[in-house]
């Protein structure tokens, strides 16, 4: 007896039996079903497809696709917009302009003592409440200075303070926003005495080579601070051809400071640094400073032409002497704005 064979046919027979019995059952249930009610319900279903419903039935695929596309488009737009915004913010965050915002800059006592007349006190008090600080330096002995445009932008008044503590009111002669340069003039202030000697540095309009040793002086704090480094790239932030990349330690307040090479020639003006990288600073090339000077309208100069010094008296001096000479023509720039 093959039990296996037996099982196979038994299973087939049982399956057959199951179906037969289910059919009988279904026939019985079906016979008991209230066909009038069934017809009524089927008719209800029949009358259901109203024009709106059949329209919906016909177009729901299209509508679903349209809705999906709309949803995808909306979210993609939002995403793209947001990522663009973020990218933009990051760029702004990565590039930091080096003007210094000050809540309350305390003038050192020494300066107040050195300057006992009332005028000095008032000015020192004014400087103490400045909102933005940067650096500027003499272009000519008769009172033209250059600084960063972002430092003096929207200024109500601008004061400069020498390393000795003398404070003068300055007039903004010209703004060059694209190159982030501004020209100031001190001769409006009657207290300003024209320096007996011309500015010590020379101006080198030619492109400097990578690796050029450079130094700067500026006011990241109330005291003048010296920094040195080297020229690391011939372009600035994001390939900006009007600036150099400089490996030099600079901080807020250094903006507008002079960048000089070993010979004492001015090769750039400090403008900003990249916050996401160490030792990546930028300086506007002197070539553009000269262009800025040339584009000042004659009216703005008020009959006092801006004559640049041609003679460099620093070339042969050791670095310490160079710094000493330079310090006299590097000023702290304090800017006041109406608080909003």
């Amino acid at each position: 007896m093959g039990t296996n064979d037996e099982q196979e046919i038994e299973n087939a027979l049982r399956a057959y039996g199951d179906r037969v019995r289910l059919r009988q059952k279904l026939a019985a249930v079906q016979a008991a079903v209230d066909m009038d009610a069934m017809r009524q319900q089927a008719d209800d279903l029949r009358s259901e497809p109203t024009p709106m419903r059949s329209w919906w039935t016909n177009y729901r695929t299209t509508l679903a696709v349209a809705a999906s596309v709309a949803v995808v488009t909306t979210f993609t737009s939002i995403f793209v917009y947001r990522s663009y915004q973020n990218g933009h913010q990051q760029q702004q965050q990565q590039y930091s302009q080096l003007s210094k915002e000050i809540q309350a800059v305390k003038s050192s006592q020494r300066r107040i003592l050195n300057d006992l007349d009332g005028r000095g006190r008032a000015l020192n008090a004014a400087v103490a409440s400045a909102q933005i600080a940067g650096t500027g330096f003499m272009l000519t002995a008769d009172g033209y200075l250059v600084t960063s445009n972002h430092t003096v932008r929207d200024a109500d008044s601008v004061y400069v303070q020498s390393q000795q503590g003398a404070v003068y009111k300055a007039r903004v002669v010209y703004n060059d926003q694209p190159h982030d340069l501004a020209i100031l003039q001190l001769c409006d202030d009657s207290a300003f005495r024209q320096a007996s000697t011309a500015v010590p540095y020379g101006i080198d309009p030619r492109p400097s080579d990578l690796g050029e040793r450079v130094f700067t002086l500026g006011y990241p704090r109330d005291e003048i601070v010296y920094g040195e480094g080297y020229l690391s790239s011939s372009t600035g932030y994001q390939g900006d051809s009007t600036a150099y990349q400089v490996a030099i330690g600079v901080n807020p307040g250094n903006s507008g400071g002079p960048l000089l090479n070993e010979k004492g020639n001015l090769i750039g003006i400090i403008s900003g640094k990249q916050t996401t990288a160490e030792g990546v600073s930028f300086a506007v090339k002197t070539d553009y400073l000269l262009k800025t000077i040339n584009s000042i309208p004659t009216d703005s100069l008020k009959g006092q032409p801006l004559r640049l010094n041609k003679k460099n008296t620093l070339t042969t001096l050791p670095r310490k002497q160079q710094i000493k000479r330079m310090m006299a023509c590097v000023y702290q720039v304090s800017v006041f704005k109406h608080r909003q």
Partner: protein, 192 residues
Amino acid sequence: MSNVMKESRRTTLTDDELLLGLADGSDSALQQLYRQYFPMVLHFVTSNSGSEDDAKDIYQEALIVVYEKVRAGSLELQCQLKTYLYSVGRRLWLKQLAQRGRYIVSDTEQSVRVDDDMTDHEERDRQFELMAESLDRLGEPCRTLLEDFYIRHLSMQAITDKFGYTNSDNAKTQKYKCLMRLKRLFFAEYKQ
């Protein structure tokens, strides 16, 4: 009162409970299956050049498909039972229409793909027809004896008495002989 209770209990059967009831041949489940979903199939078949009787046949067939799949443990519902029943009924009716040289004009519900399930069902159909045929050719008393035991589930003793065998061992031997004959008839066709 008890009628109302029964009614309300019936309507609470879920899809899963309906399927279990169908597998057990529960009357209340079958009644609910008719009440709930037959109008849908009736509407579909009569909307597509079928009669009321066509609809009844199609719905019965659809329930058999579901029943056999549940019994075989191969039912994996990816949709509502309603949608599945409609889809199976639709396929069955489509086949009928094709044999009559006609085609479906309008769908009255959404349907899902049931191609694989229908292939299984056609195989079972073939087996069922063949079994019916084999039983016919088996002749009496073998046919009744086997039907009594395997389909009507009579006990060996009842069969012994009914057929007048001297004892149940004789009945068993007779049943075995019949089964072997049926086997030859059935597999002679089926295995081809």
